[in-house]
């Protein structure tokens, strides 16, 4: 690269010259004080001209389209590819920060699995009244079909994504657990590839922990839960098909694992086993990484109208003739209402305090929580417990009096459907906006893979809310993503 293309001219403003993180914790500026390598990256960014960064960002965007790192929106006669916007300024974590997250995530996954085993077997935690029985047994995601069923290594949540945010002090807090079919891991790896192509100069001399072995780790975990007896168990990824918005990720993971991506119509149950239709006839299947919700898995057991699943699959699974990841019925554990009890659940099963704290949470199903929420609506974030993707949320401090009044009525009508939390002052990361870097709020979703034991991908998906001041990072609501570096 020539000096002229990268060094900001004296006349124009540099990328970071007007940057002000405005009282929020800044992943770059505050990080630079913790690790000289973050300071080094920041110094390098100062040397990049806005035009140069803009140009690289444009190339990156067209590459995402051309490579098909996209989700597809189908209209009646066409298929329009959309990309998840990608920002070229990385989010960097120090070794100490990562160690904390890694331990915290593994602890949380262990507690989630212990909790799931318990509620589908002894129900000790309900008997001991640590978690209200009605919250669990009355939960629509509690699956009676799971009662008494033993899963290999007592692992229910093989792939877990735990959403973390940082508050203004720089401390990490858990915002949400995703224990069903969390997505986004493909972007973690593709973002790294993209950075290596677009910004190799930013990495110079800085050792970043690799993320490329996720597929192998996932494959290993799946072979660990496959029925024993087959020397080389056959693993498949079960996808709803090309119309699913996460189809790119399904492709990505099938490729990285080196296994077939199958749809329900490719599988059949015969003689108590699961088979796939190949050009040579039926071939046995031993482990299924399914990216299909519980409801659609098996029309015999769940939604009878599902054409995406496989008739008889659950019966084969219950007999231990095929492995399913994640297990059925994990949705009860990542429910927003259960979330409030996670610190107590961790203490109950592991006799440890939570390494990663929750955001303080008021449960509106409880009189005390509801009263507090109603009194402090203007300063709280209130979320419906059953929704995902950031839908149905009200952010008190940002809502109009009219919106608050409407929401109050909804809340009183069905309080058990809501929890509330104080508004966390999410950390920010410098993000390219036009021709300068501006602070934008970010979160972090680390991914944990569990077969016999738990491994956490060193990195995770950093999502960024691209709209100024916005706290909603979801891709469906104007979010983008960044490469996440964990320093060696």
């Amino acid at each position: 690269m020539t000096a002229s293309s990268t060094v900001a001219s004296g006349l124009s403003l540099g990328l970071l010259d007007a940057y002000d993180s405005d009282g929020f914790y800044c992943e770059m500026r505050d990080g630079a004080a913790l690790d000289p390598r973050i300071a080094q990256v920041m110094a390098r960014l100062r040397q990049v001209s806005p035009d140069d960064l803009r140009r690289r960002a444009e190339i990156a965007e067209s590459e995402l389209y051309n490579l098909g790192i996209t989700f597809t929106v189908y209209s009646d006669r066409d298929a329009i590819d959309r990309i998840l916007p990608f920002d070229l300024v990385p989010r960097i974590l120090t070794p100490a920060e990562w160690d904390h997250i890694d331990r915290g995530v593994r602890q949380r996954v262990a507690a989630l699995n212990a909790f799931l085993w318990d509620i589908y077997h002894d129900r000790a935690i309900l008997r001991d009244k640590v978690v209200p029985e009605s919250l669990v047994l009355g939960n629509p995601n509690y699956r009676p079909e799971m009662i008494g069923l033993d899963v290999p290594h007592r692992t229910y949540v093989h792939v877990c994504g735990i959403d973390l945010v940082r508050d203004e002090t720089g401390g990490f807090l858990v915002l949400e657990d995703n224990a069903r079919t969390p997505s986004g891991v493909s972007y973690v790896i593709e973002n790294r590839h993209m950075m290596a192509r677009m910004f190799p100069d930013l990495f110079d001399g800085i050792a970043v922990r690799p993320v490329g072995d996720y597929g192998m780790r996932l494959h290993t975990a799946l072979t660990e839960i496959a029925p024993s007896g087959d020397a080389e168990p056959r693993v498949v990824l079960l996808s709803p098909g090309i119309y699913n918005s996460a189809y790119f990720e399904h492709i990505f993971l099938a490729r990285e694992m080196g296994v077939p991506l199958v749809e329900g119509r490719d599988l059949t149950v015969e003689d108590g086993s699961v088979w796939m239709r190949t050009t040579a006839g039926l071939a046995p299947v031993h482990a299924i990484y399914r990216r299909l919700n519980d409801d659609f898995l098996d029309p015999d057991v769940f939604n009878p109208d599902s054409v995406l699943g496989v008739r008889g699959l659950i019966d084969v699974w219950r007999r231990g003739r095929v492995a399913l990841a994640n297990a059925v019925g994990t949705g009860v554990a990542d429910d927003k209402a259960i979330y409030a009890y996670m610190p107590r659940i961790i203490r109950y099963y592991l006799a440890e305090d939570a390494i990663l704290s929750n955001v303080q949470t008021n449960i509106c199903a409880e009189a005390e929580g509801l009263a507090y929420t109603l009194d402090h609506l203007h300063e709280l974030v209130v979320k419906p417990v059953g929704e995902s993707g950031g839908y149905g949320i009200i952010i008190g401090p940002r809502a109009s009096a009219e919106e608050c009044r409407e929401f109050r009525a909804k809340l009183i009508a069905d309080p058990s459907n809501f929890i509330s939390q104080p508004m966390v002052k999410l950390s920010v990361s410098p993000t390219l906006m036009g021709s300068r870097l501006a602070p934008r709020h970010v979160d972090l979703r680390p991914f944990a893979v569990t077969g016999k034991s738990t491994w956490v991908l060193p990195g995770g998906l950093t999502r960024v809310a691209l709209r100024e001041g916005s706290l909603v990072v979801n891709s469906s609501q104007g979010g983008g993503s960044k490469d996440t570096w964990v320093l060696e």
Partner: protein, 340 residues
């Protein structure tokens, strides 16, 4: 399937894994077959449109446009949307009209959706090229093509298909998937060549008195160019342009990459490979089906074919290709039961 069968099959497929390479999902085999067919169809259609545009547009006789509609058996659908057969209406019908399933636009869309399904299997380069090709082609074909644009659009389309062919040759893993892809490609190519030759005999030659006239020779040139065979033909037949030798060249020449004989030979080779190398016994049934076509084209002379009627012969060839495609579907992806 009984318990014992399934157990023995399980062992057999274990062996197959080590000796014959990875198993292939039926759906992927079908998509590979169709990806190849659609790309080949786009290339052939682009060739026909380009040659017709160059050699027919400015002549007094516009029947060349009609013949494209006729050989694709699209008359009814075409007349629903267009009042008259003109260069413009035929070009629009075959370039950009998505309602027309035999348009280049529709074929490219289908190719891309097949490629999308195949993304777990094919190289990133292969997918990326089809994806970018589709998007650029759509932009290029949007709106009314100006007469001066047609040859450029067709050149772009041909080049895109050839780019696809090259990337596929260079990156597609050589397991049974390659055989299914290749069978699809040669089946489509043979079928398209039969249609191309049919254009000439079906409609371009209204009366015997035209034979050998300037216009006639011009049209034979066009035909050869559409099949990328003009210069090769000149080398094989340096003197003269007897219609029979052109037809013979495109149908029966073993070295012509687009001849029917070459297609049949390639299909046979890959079907045999599916049977012997990959142990797919379903291939034997398709090979039996292929026998009829092979007997009908190998060791034939063009004079013999012309005596019996070229158009009738080409019709029969097309029916044979249809039958083979159906036999392949039955053997490898429609059968729900154990194929062995």
């Amino acid at each position: 399937m009984s318990q014992t069968q399934s157990q023995s099959q399980s062992q057999a497929s274990g062996e197959a894994l080590s000796r014959r390479g990875p198993i292939l999902l039926s759906r992927y085999a079908e998509c590979l077959f169709w990806l190849a067919r659609y790309m080949e169809r786009v290339e052939n259609l682009a060739r026909i449109l380009e040659v017709t545009d160059t050699f027919v547009r400015h002549g007094a006789d516009q029947s060349g446009w009609l013949s494209i509609v006729q050989i694709n058996a699209d008359e009814a659908r075409f007349l629903e949307k267009h009042d008259a057969v003109t260069a413009e209406s035929v070009l629009r019908f075959y370039l950009s009209e998505r309602d027309n399933p035999s348009s280049i636009s529709a074929c490219l869309f289908a190719a891309r959706e097949n490629a999308r399904t195949l993304r777990p299997l094919i190289s990133t380069e292969m997918w990326s090229q089809v994806n970018v090709f589709y998007n650029r082609a759509r932009e290029l074909m949007a709106g009314e093509p100006r007469p001066s644009d047609v040859s450029q659009i067709c050149a772009f389309l041909k080049e895109g298909c050839q780019f696809h062919t090259g990337i596929t040759e260079g990156t597609l893993f050589r397991d049974q998937g390659w055989a299914f892809y290749s069978i699809g490609k040669y089946l489509e190519r043979g079928d398209q060549t039969s249609r191309l030759v049919d254009i000439k005999y079906h409609t371009l030659l209204p009366s015997v008195t035209d034979v050998g006239g300037a216009q006639d020779v011009n049209q034979w040139h066009a035909l050869l160019r559409a099949a990328a065979g003009y210069h090769a033909f000149r080398r094989v037949y340096p003197s003269g342009m007897i219609p029979a030798s052109v037809a013979g060249f495109l149908l029966l020449n073993h070295s012509c990459p687009r001849s029917i004989v070459q297609s049949v030979h390639q299909i046979e080779t890959y079907l045999t490979q599916l049977g012997s190398t990959y142990g797919l016994t379903g291939a034997n049934r398709v090979l039996e089906q292929l026998d009829g076509l092979r007997a009908g084209v190998m060791d034939q002379t063009i004079d013999h074919i012309l005596q019996r009627g070229l158009h009738e012969f080409l019709d029969w060839v097309q029916l044979q290709f249809l039958g083979i495609a159906a036999a392949i579907a039955d053997a490898f992806w429609h059968s729900k039961e154990d194929a062995t």
